[in-house]
């Protein structure tokens, strides 16, 4: 168990990573989807019914989560593929998982020394809203909210150590 001072110091350091998360996300959307992102100023809508999760292990342990609604994910997949997939199709889930994977990889490569010392998992994609995620360790969370073609999505990094 960390002391209060250790937790505060770690949280302050981790907050410095938010701009790197934003940059990593913007680069993925610009290079792979040809899309410019805008920061989301309003709260995201309640219906965020598709979630992609990528685990990080090693020097940085945690989970990066990408959330939006399925129509937004389908639009992202369309920009990636150049063809229009069905909203519930495997292509949409696969594309959404791949976006989360690239954000996680691009983010960790931007942190000095982390490229070699942090591994990322194959992404997992969950559809629906009726679930809860519980962490079994002290967790610090960073969040980035963006608009893709005016449609909101959220990236969260839960840091376990």
């Amino acid at each position: 168990m960390k002391t209060a001072n250790e937790l505060l110091t770690a949280r302050n350091n981790h907050q410095n990573w938010v701009p790197l998360m934003e940059l990593a996300t913007k680069e993925v959307f610009e290079m792979m989807l040809g899309a410019e992102l805008e920061p989301a100023v309003e709260d995201a809508p309640a219906t965020l019914d598709i979630t992609a999760m990528v685990g990080l292990a090693g020097q940085l342990c945690g989970v990066l989560t990408l959330k939006c609604n399925r129509e937004t994910a389908a639009r992202m997949a369309e920009r990636m593929l150049g063809t229009q997939p069905d909203v519930g199709s495997q292509d949409v889930k696969d594309a959404f998982g791949e976006i989360s994977n690239m954000i996680a990889g691009n983010f960790k490569n931007k942190i000095s020394g982390m490229g070699d010392n942090c591994m990322i998992s194959v992404p997992t994609v969950i559809t629906g809203t009726d679930y809860n995620v519980y962490s079994l360790s002290d967790t610090d969370a960073l969040e980035v909210r963006e608009l893709f073609e005016g449609l909101p999505f959220i990236i969260t990094l839960e840091i376990h150590s």
Partner: protein, 128 residues
């Protein structure tokens, strides 16, 4: 440039489709495009098919990309085929490992169409 056959190895079917589209956009006339979801599947493809170029991810289940390129010379149709790694792993040590294992090119995800074009065309030109 004559038509070429390519093998795309990535556990994401979407990424395989994107890479194929970018190869066509790069001006390659693709005679055959073979796909595999991991290194073992890719070695299976090469037992029966000759290719001119392999584009390969690193992080894949069953057999990863580094293990695959190390196993490649042991397959008859694998000898001398240029391999370009396309991966989220961006550290210098990964690049060194890949190049030491025999990769001829390395592209970090996310990537631009121009990066794919430059890597692939330079390899195919140097091969001819």
């Amino acid at each position: 440039m004559n038509s070429v056959s390519a093998l795309i190895v990535d556990d994401s079917s979407v990424m395989r489709k994107i890479i194929e589209r970018l190869l066509r956009q790069a001006g390659l006339e693709l005679e055959h495009v073979y796909e595999a979801g991991n290194g073992v599947e890719a070695l299976g493809v090469l037992k029966d098919n000759r290719v001119d170029l392999i584009l390969c991810d690193i992080n894949m289940p069953v057999m990863n990309g580094l293990e695959f390129i190390k196993a490649l010379p042991g397959v008859e149709n694998g000898k001398g085929v240029p391999v370009v790694m396309i991966t989220t792993e961006g550290s210098e040590s990964h690049v060194v490992q890949a190049l030491s294992a025999g990769a001829k090119g390395y592209i970090r995800k996310p990537f631009t169409p121009e990066q794919v074009k430059e890597n692939v065309l330079s390899l195919l030109v140097s091969k001819t």
